[in-house]
Symmetry: C2
Subunit: 207 residues, 2 copies
């Protein structure tokens, strides 16, 4: 009964979604046309619309899948690491590696795929903005918990630290897209970590 009736789909839906992810990642929502997508998928428009509804819905599915795979390292770090410092250290270091992985486009799709949009498609921009701000709130919550736990001093500002680390990560994505290499992004991660409140200034290679 699980078998579908009618003519079966002649292409691999998951592979097609991968191609779409790659294109949206590289050129953004507006920069990727249906013609680009169908050409990369090796299909024709009606097949795309039958499988993915429309461009907007396809993009949503791409973003969702991106968050569950390439973007999952952030949630994992926040969830798995025992201390806030370990979580942010892991996030920053993995971001440096992830954003410069030669196996896919540089940078982060959620950060860069919908920044230039006509007024009619503002909702796409807003959707990614919401995802970014949700991440920012997760950062802040984790840092607030660290203050409550005593891991961070009582006068530490969780909101400011959250915005700072989010800004560094977004800046790393932009730098990766501008061609900065992995080693330099790793150095950026270490510099950002050296601001951690209470960290002795002789960090890895100081003094």
């Amino acid at each position: 009964m699980a078998t579908t009736q009618g003519r079966p789909r002649s292409f691999d839906r998951a592979a097609a979604l991968d191609r779409a992810t790659h294109l949206f990642w590289e050129r953004g929502y507006e920069g990727t046309s249906i013609a680009d997508l169908t050409e990369a998928m090796g299909i024709h428009p009606p097949s795309l619309y039958a499988a993915f509804s429309d461009k907007r819905t396809l993009f949503e599915e791409v973003v969702e899948r991106y968050g569950a795979t390439f973007g999952a390292f952030m949630d994992a770090a926040l969830r798995e690491e025992p201390t806030a410092y370990a979580a942010f250290a892991r996030m920053l270091r993995e971001a440096a590696d992830e954003y410069t992985d030669p196996g896919h486009p540089p940078g982060c799709l959620i950060i860069s795929a919908a920044t230039n949009v006509p007024a009619a498609h503002r909702d796409v921009q807003d959707a990614l903005c919401r995802l970014r701000n949700r991440n920012l709130e997760r950062f802040e919550a984790r840092l607030r918990a660290a203050v409550a736990d005593g891991e961070l001093p009582a006068d530490a500002d969780p909101r400011a630290l959250a915005v700072f680390y989010a800004a560094v990560i977004q800046g790393m994505s932009q730098q990766a897209r501008d061609g900065v290499g992995r080693a330099q992004l790793r150095a950026v991660a270490e510099l950002a970590l050296s601001t951690w409140p209470g960290t002795p200034s002789p960090a890895p290679k100081q003094r």
Copy 2:
């Protein structure tokens, strides 16, 4: 002799350029159409093309003017401040104020106006990328000079510091576009400054 022949232009070219700057700043190159521009300028397409050649050339003039006005604070800080620390401190603090100025769109046009681009217009994206990378090299040159002067320790890494501060500034632009306020961006600037090599880690108040 300075008087022009023929029918005079019926609109203020500088004011029209301001409107164009505002639109490109807010929606980016691809997100802004000729119809958007002519409507905001209160003119019709032939007038725009007579005054600004074409969309690409208009955008270049907008970028140039932006760099000479809103974006000039970076060059000014690097040129006018006596020490590298003072230069970067001023840049970061002025970026926080500039990117959240309610008098114009949030963030930086050069950072965010051409990130999602179809393959055919890649050259616009590349032009802004070159501007960003040129800034990055200026950062590095100033930091390298600070090492040579003895302001920074000999084992400081000018390239890594340059990428770090550039990333923070780009991240601040993105955060401003996502709605983060001026006070929080200022806090981000102070956190970024606290990584300055040799700075004592407790730096709640500067100057």
